[in-house]
Each structure stands twice: as structure tokens, then as C-alpha cells.
Symmetry: C2
Subunit: 426 residues, 2 copies
């Protein structure tokens, strides 16, 4: 093992120190591909149905997803906060949801005080905004958090796709008018599409039920046979409706462009809602307009389940051999595999120096095992050094069959970290 002295952070980059191990077999108690692969490769560990621990590799993926989300939310003018999971019962009674919200976990303290475990945060964020916002000059405001949510789901069989506890990004927007909410809502559609695309996923914006607050909401669906939702969509244009509300069926003509309507299952990775003034009426969230008149604030909410997104990525990007991470969310940029003890020490040092995130398989196990495990873990670029490669490195993309021989400087150039260029969405 290498000695990196004080820079203990590098320990994690050594596979011999990784603590988790790739399992020989898939877990027996998982049905969904995402949970099977992520568990076997050591990204997550199930604690109870719908409740997972994120292990070092899994947490690295989660942090990459968090960073993409944070960058996009900040670029929109979102301000990050952190609200608690313990919500006083009174807040949920004020909105009438204490009795009607079916997946609400309820808890009672020793002293008899009742709380809900937050499945969403309108009941907390609206009174918070009421404290600080008084005037049209204070609006709009966009607040978001990346925080642990709790939902008492009856079934939790889809691995990371349906959690009872899961990390979620929820943003709440506050506006002087429905018109301003509408235009922010449209902007968010573009931002979400871009954000999911940065994480490697092509999404369809699917019109769906608005629940009790508004006529419609929109879901961001990744079309795939394994999804829980059914989506009717047009082959040609962007028309798409959730089965629950769809007024078309398979084979119909698209009401927008006369293209053909198709049906697919989908995984919902995000949703956006116009809540209107429902919650601002409940909590008397008012602002004074230019004439000093008091009006209710219009609210929108915008969610993304981070662990579900991670699960969806695995559902889409895998093959018989294992996961194939998109570069933007991969736990490491490259997987350096030495075939022959200590052979890749120098290359590892060189890559570290160049600022490249590399997992170094320095273990003394069989070559076959190393390559099989690397495919399962799914880091996008594999670097192999062995007797055969000489002074060069065998470079293979996880999603391609063929490999190339490259020099060290070619590899470094290939892996040079690039900064994502945030562009305005207008």
C-alpha cells in the first residue's frame, strides 16, 4: 500500500482501502436492477425496504448529483437553506393535511407533543417566508434545500426508485402574481431538462394531475420499460400526458401535430407544481403591492429525488456486466487497474498530481477478478497497466468494446477536468 503521509483523503482512492467489497452475487432481497447492481457493487446497503445507507462510492455519486443540482438552482437565483424533518402537528393541521396526507409518518414525544416527519416542506417554508417577506420589493424569492424526506409508502420494492427515506431537492418559489409564477414555472421546465441531461438522462415533460391545488402539474419522466408510470407521448412533438389524466390512447393522432401517440413506462425523476395561493391563504402569507394593498403570494414547488435519480441512472445505464456511469455523475473519472503488484504506482501519482479523480486498484487479487469488478462498478474510463502494455497504458471506455494504447500525457490530456459552463436559461 502507498503511503500518502498527511493527505489521508487519498486513502479513499486506493481500492485496497475502500472498506466495501464487490459481492460475488446479487442480493437476494432486491428485485429492481438499480438496487441489485448498486448493492452488489458496494454503492449502497439496504437497512430496511426503501431505506438505504450510502457507502463511499454511492456517496460520491450522490455528491456529484448534488453539485449539478446546486449549480443549476443557484444559477436561477435560488437560495439554499436547510429545514428540519420534525414538523409540528399544528402546521399540518393549518393546511388540513395532517389527516389527508396518506404517506405521513407521525410521531409523538415523551411529553405528548406530536410531529410529522417531513415528506415535503410547504408547512415549514411558507410560515418562514411569512416572517421575512412583506412587500412586492421582497419578491420573487426562490428557496431550496437538499434534505432528507420521509414517506410511509405501502410498497417499497423498486430499490432507490421509491424510498421511505430519501434525499430530495425541493425548491419553493414565491411570486407577486400567477403570471410571474407561470413564467418562472416555464423557466424551471428548461432548467430541469438541462439538469437531467447533465446527469445523462433524456427526460420528457409529462402533463399530469395537479392534485388538489391546480389543474395540472408536470412530471419529468425517463421513458424506460421498468418505470412505474405509464406515459402517452407523441413520436414527433413534445406532447406527453400521464396515463392518469390522458385523453389520448396508443395509436391516436397527436392533438398538437397529428403525429402518432405511443405509450411507454417511465421513471419520474422530477416534478413541478403550481400551488397558487392555497398555502399562502392557510398561513396568511401576504405582500403589499405598489399601492399598499395586501395580496396573497403565489407559490410554486419543484422537486427532484436525488436517490431516485441515482437509481434511474443505473436503470438506464448498465449492461450484463454492470453499471456504466455517465461521466458527470461517476464516482471517479477513471479506474486505474494494475496487473502486476505496484506497477501503476507512478501513473497513479502522476494522475493525482494532474488533479484527476482516479480509483486505483492496488489490490493483490487475480487479474480476472479486477476486470470483472471494474465492469460492475462502472467507472467510465478504464486504465490498465500490465506486462503487455509496456510504457503505454491500455485505455478503454466502459461503454465501448475496443481499447487503445496511449501515453501517460495523452491519458492526462484526455482526463483533464473541465469546468461546466453554466449558461443562462431565459
Amino acid at each position: 500500500m502507498l503511503d500518502f503521509g498527511f493527505l489521508g483523503i487519498l486513502w479513499l482512492m486506493l481500492q485496497s482501502r475502500l472498506f466495501t467489497k464487490v459481492a460475488r452475487n446479487f442480493p437476494k432481497d432486491e428485485e429492481a436492477i438499480n438496487a441489485k447492481l448498486l448493492t452488489r457493487a458496494g454503492f449502497v446497503e439496504k437497512v430496511s425496504a426503501g431505506v438505504y445507507s450510502f457507502l463511499p462510492l454511492g456517496l460520491r455519486v450522490m455528491r456529484k448529483i448534488e453539485t449539478i443540482i446546486r449549480e443549476e438552482m443557484n444559477a436561477l437565483g435560488g437560495m439554499e437553506i436547510l429545514m428540519p424533518a420534525l414538523h409540528p402537528k399544528e402546521n399540518w393541521e393549518t393546511t388540513g393535511r395532517w389527516k389527508t396526507f396518506d404517506v405521513l409518518y407521525k410521531i409523538k414525544s415523551r411529553e405528548g407533543k406530536e410531529f410529522a416527519l417531513g415528506p415535503t416542506h410547504e408547512e415549514i417554508v411558507v410560515p418562514l417566508v411569512a416572517k421575512f417577506v412583506n412587500s412586492y420589493k421582497d419578491l420573487p424569492v426562490y428557496l431550496y434545500q437538499i434534505q432528507d424526506k420521509f414517506r410511509d409508502e405501502l410498497r417499497a420494492k423498486s430499490g432507490l426508485l421509491r424510498g421511505r427515506e430519501f434525499l430530495m431537492k425541493d425548491l419553493y418559489s414565491f411570486h407577486t402574481s400567477e403570471g410571474d409564477l407561470d413564467s418562472f414555472y416555464e423557466k424551471m421546465k428548461k432548467v430541469y431538462t438541462k439538469l437531467f441531461s447533465r446527469a445523462g438522462l433524456k427526460t420528457r415533460i409529462v402533463k399530469s394531475s395537479g392534485g388538489t391545488f391546480s389543474k395540472y402539474s408536470h412530471e419529468f419522466q425517463v421513458l424506460t420499460p421498468v418505470g412505474e408510470d405509464a406515459v402517452f407521448y407523441c413520436e414527433k412533438c413534445d406532447f406527453a400526458e400521464n396515463k392518469e389524466i390522458a385523453e389520448v390512447k396508443e395509436g391516436d393522432k397527436c392533438p398538437n401535430c397529428a403525429g402518432k401517440i405511443r405509450v411507454s413506462q417511465g421513471i419520474e425523476v422530477g416534478n413541478i407544481f403550481k400551488l397558487g395561493t392555497k398555502f399562502s391563504k392557510d398561513f396568511e402569507l401576504l405582500y403589499k403591492d405598489e399601492k399598499g394593498k395586501e395580496n396573497h403570494i403565489s407559490i410554486g414547488c419543484y422537486g427532484i429525488g436525488l436517490s431516485r435519480l441515482m437509481g434511474a441512472i443505473v436503470e438506464i445505464f448498465h449492461d450484463e456486466q454492470g453499471i456504466i456511469w455517465p461521466e458527470t455523475v461517476a464516482p471517479f473519472a477513471a479506474h486505474l487497474i494494475e496487473l502486476g503488484e505496484g506497477k501503476s504506482k507512478k501513473l497513479y501519482h502522476d494522475l493525482q498530481k494532474a488533479g484527476i479523480d482516479v480509483l486505483y486498484d492496488d489490490r493483490n487479487i487475480s487479474h480476472g477478478e479486477k476486470l470483472t469488478e471494474a465492469d460492475l462498478i462502472g467507472i467510465p474510463l478504464r486504465l490498465v497497466q500490465s506486462e503487455k502494455t509496456g510504457a503505454k497504458i491500455e485505455v478503454k471506455r466502459r461503454d465501448e468494446k475496443d481499447s487503445k494504447l496511449m501515453t501517460v500525457s495523452q491519458v492526462i490530456k484526455l482526463l483533464q477536468p473541465t469546468t461546466y459552463n453554466l449558461q443562462t436559461i431565459t
Copy 2:
């Protein structure tokens, strides 16, 4: 207001966009200084006793604290994971703590499944390690997380010092022998002392009750009249004992050095425990030694309450005018206050370009209000531009009375971000 185009992240740096506002008065429902100041200045907002939301300024402080903790834990060889808050009842029955752990929140799902809300994570981390560790070659392992904890405290009147829900860093160490645990435990004492000192706090290592697991544990106490604990300590050497177990009283001679024993209240900002083999026996956490013989793994645990640490910092660093953040955890490095509209636009741009974290008070309110609010918020360095300062900038440290006039390049040099130099603790 300035237009920063696509770089929305900079919005937060403008005080006009900060969403929170400094309140005219202290909150009526808080007793502790930390909660009074942090609430009034807009860092946190109480949701229920012991349950807080962290607002943009408060979250920035929390992230600074997180970074210090992460750097020190990684440097030790710690590997970060993220475990859930929902803990199956069975795990807590296995350790016998379902009935005996007094602050345990319990919850039942619709289907009748019972969970504890994690107040600590031995019940989750030990079975996790049991899955991956088999041999002495896999040890030691140090796993940590920064995660939300829940405790059903009877009294929660100390603001952020005693939370019912709070962020905590908990590290668990796993060893082949008590001897190895002992030496890591001693190392952790040094790391904790250094970590708290980086956050501005001088701590005493105080011997205290080991609970049911071992004879003693150690607390890291900040001595201050407002603490909840009583500590007997030696004026001369590092002898210190918690009142609960102390065999000395005030005025006694120190059993180590014959110095004088004094008493003080203290705030416990961290604690470290040797758990021995209690939990490895409960969960059959075994390893095979060099001879193939199975032995129980020795475990230590090491906690730091992040929100409590933030509260403790405020208890120590404030004056009549407000908070005085240590530089390492301050929400911003500097507070730029323009007296005269638009006067500091250019300086703000220059500081941004130099990579300096600056909060820019671009609001059109009275000069007096600006300066009063800046003192309350407590950013370590105040930069004022006004008619009087001419081409120069009036620079004042929050903890000093006098100000100096400096040029832009002098200010930039003064504020140049430095990278903390992690040193090995051996």
C-alpha cells in the same frame, strides 16, 4: 441592484437579495444568547423547541464547520458514508436499547412496522461493517457521516446547544484489539483539540462517565459560565473531570501536579467513547486473526454536534453589539458596506474577481442601520466606502475598535484566501 448575468450564485452575496432580514428586537421565545443572536441576525429560525431551520447565513457557517470536520476526519483516514435516520426496531432490540435509551423517538408505519429515529448509529454501522469486514487485513476501518440526529429531550431551552433534531458528525472506529483502539482514541483526542481550535474554540478534555460500556469516556468542554455541565479542572495541568464522576472538589490539590482545582460550567462540543466489544458481540462482528481464529472487533465512537458547535461559538464570541465570528467559520470573509448608492460596485467586482467571499450591503437604507446590522451579523472584517474615505477603504475588524484606511490592493492582499495546512497528528 447589480446584474451578474448567468452567475446567479453571486446573488447571495448581495444583501439586498438575502431574503432574511435582521430583526429589530431579540425573539421573545428564546432564553439562550446563541439562539437570541442567531435568530435576530437571521442565521436560524425556530420551528419548535430544539428544532431549527438554517437560513442562508446560518447554512454558510454550517458548511464551513462541515469542511473543517471533513478535512480532519479524512486526514485521519476516515471514510465518509451516509446512514439513514429510520432504524428498524429489531436492530435496537438486538442491543437491548429499544427500551432503555431514554431519548429515543419511536415511530410506527401504516403497516405496523416500528422504527427508531436514529439518535446515534451503532445499531446501523455495526451490522454494516459485519457485512464487509472478515479478516485482520480489513482493519482498522474508520467510518463517519455528517447526518441529522433525533433526540426526544425533555427540556430544550438552550437554543442550538440542545437540539431535538441536529446535525452531527459521528465516526466509528473498528480495531483488532483494545490496544489499537486505545492508540486511535489518543490520536482522536489530539485531532479533536486541533479541530475545535480551528473553529476558534479552546477545549478541555474532561474525563466523564463511560455509561454502560466502559469506565470512562472523554468530553471536549468549552469552559464558560453558560454551559450545562460542571467541570473540575486543574489551573496548571490538563487534569479535568466532569462533576458527575469527579473525586476532587474546588480548592483541592490536583492529583497530577498539585496545582489548584477550580470549577467552571462548560459546553460539551464533542465526546469520544470506547465501546469495546459490546456491539460486536450483539451483532456478531468478528474478524479472523493471522492464525485464522475468530475474535470480536473493538469499537470506538466519536461525536461532534455541528449545530451545538455553532451555538457554542456564538456563546463565546459575541459582545453587546452582536456576534463576532472567528474567521474560519464566518459566513463571509468580509462585509462590504457602501454608504452612498452604488459607491462600492467596483470594489465588489474587484473582490469577487480576487476570489474573496464578501457580503455586499448594497441596500438603500440609513447608514446607521447598516453599521448596526453589520455588527449584529458579525462578519470578521468590515469594509466601508463613503464620501469620507475617498479612493481608500475604511477597514475595521469586528473585534477591534479602531479602523484603518487601506487601498484596494492592500485589502485584497489582507483577504487573500489561504489554504489550511493539514498536518499529521501522530
